[in-house]
Amino acid sequence: MIKAKVYVTLKKAVLDPQGKTIKQALEHLGFKGIEDIRLGKYMEIAFNGKSEAQAESDIKEMCEKLLANTVIEDYRFEIEKGE
């Protein structure tokens, strides 16, 4: 079985109000030295009966079409071959 880990993150130029709030909350808890926090999304996709190459091209299309909004988000993914 092929498994993919997909990471969707905000582009650098885009303000991240949630990340900013999390940073403030952590600082409020006493954690020091946090330069920046950016919140992103993590997805796990399990495929059946797909070759690695197929999975790769499918994930790319999934990200472009739905999983990421490429106006503000970047995506990257890793493919794992399971047993």
Partner: protein, 230 residues
């Protein structure tokens, strides 16, 4: 004839219906999101507010693939008038029918209150009953209304006069305090270049009756009605 699309999770659909049917006595019908065609009888299609598909993934991201959206696209291409309110605006952005995206409000809170917008453009089917520079008091109710577009897109919106509403003070001044959600350039509503598709975050359907204490939303509906009558 007005059409109001219902997505799973729409919740301002009946408000729009009520205003058009009972306040303005217009012909109006609901359009289910699985419809693949929009009948020729319809002159205006409204994508109402709500939480289509639970706002999963991103607001509007899944609704944009509902079968009806292909039909809405064709409808707009043929000159049909499309109004997206709040979640409807977010769907139009995700569908690429309007440029830009919505991100989380600057203060990350869901904001539900009356704000003021200034009408920047009156030569549209949605605002022809307004005067340029007129301010409207309208309610907003959203967590993702922080309009974002890259600098080039913002420039082209300005150049092509696609900005229809801006958040301002009551007197029409653009200030940071008057911007409830952090939207770029105080943008509250934009249209496409042709001017027949508009997206707006405020809810005109929630303020079109005296009994609700505010009738500023009537300007939008009166404009639409005037457009389809003449």
């Amino acid at each position: 004839m007005f059409g109001i699309v219902i997505f799973p999770g729409s919740n301002c659909d009946h408000d729009c219906y009520h205003v058009l049917k009972h306040v303005f006595h217009q012909d109006v019908e609901f359009v289910w999101h699985k419809e693949e065609n929009i009948d020729k009888r319809f002159r205006v299609i409204i994508l109402p507010g709500g939480f289509s598909y639970g706002d999963y993934l991103r607001t509007g991201a899944i609704a944009r693939f509902s079968p009806v959206m292909k039909a809405v696209e064709r409808f707009a291409k043929d000159g049909g008038i499309v109004l997206g309110i709040c979640n409807g605006f977010q769907i139009l952005l995700e569908a690429g029918l309007l440029p830009g995206v919505m991100i989380r409000n600057k203060n990350i809170k869901f904001i539900c209150k009356d704000i003021y917008v200034r009408v920047e453009k009156t030569d549209t089917p949605f605002t022809k009953e307004c005067k340029t520079g007129q301010t409207l008091r309208l309610p907003i109710a959203h967590a993702e209304g922080n309009y974002y577009a890259d600098p080039d897109t913002l420039k082209s919106l300005e150049k092509n006069k696609q900005i229809v509403f801006r958040y301002t003070t009551k007197d029409g001044e653009i200030t940071e305090e008057a911007n409830p959600n952090g939207a770029k350039d105080n943008i509250a509503g934009i249209c496409n270049r042709e001017g027949n598709i508009i997206g707006m975050m405020p809810h005109p359907e929630r303020c079109s009756e005296a009994i609700l204490g505010n009738e500023d939303g009537r300007f939008i509906f009166k404009s639409l009605i005037k457009t389809i009558i003449f």
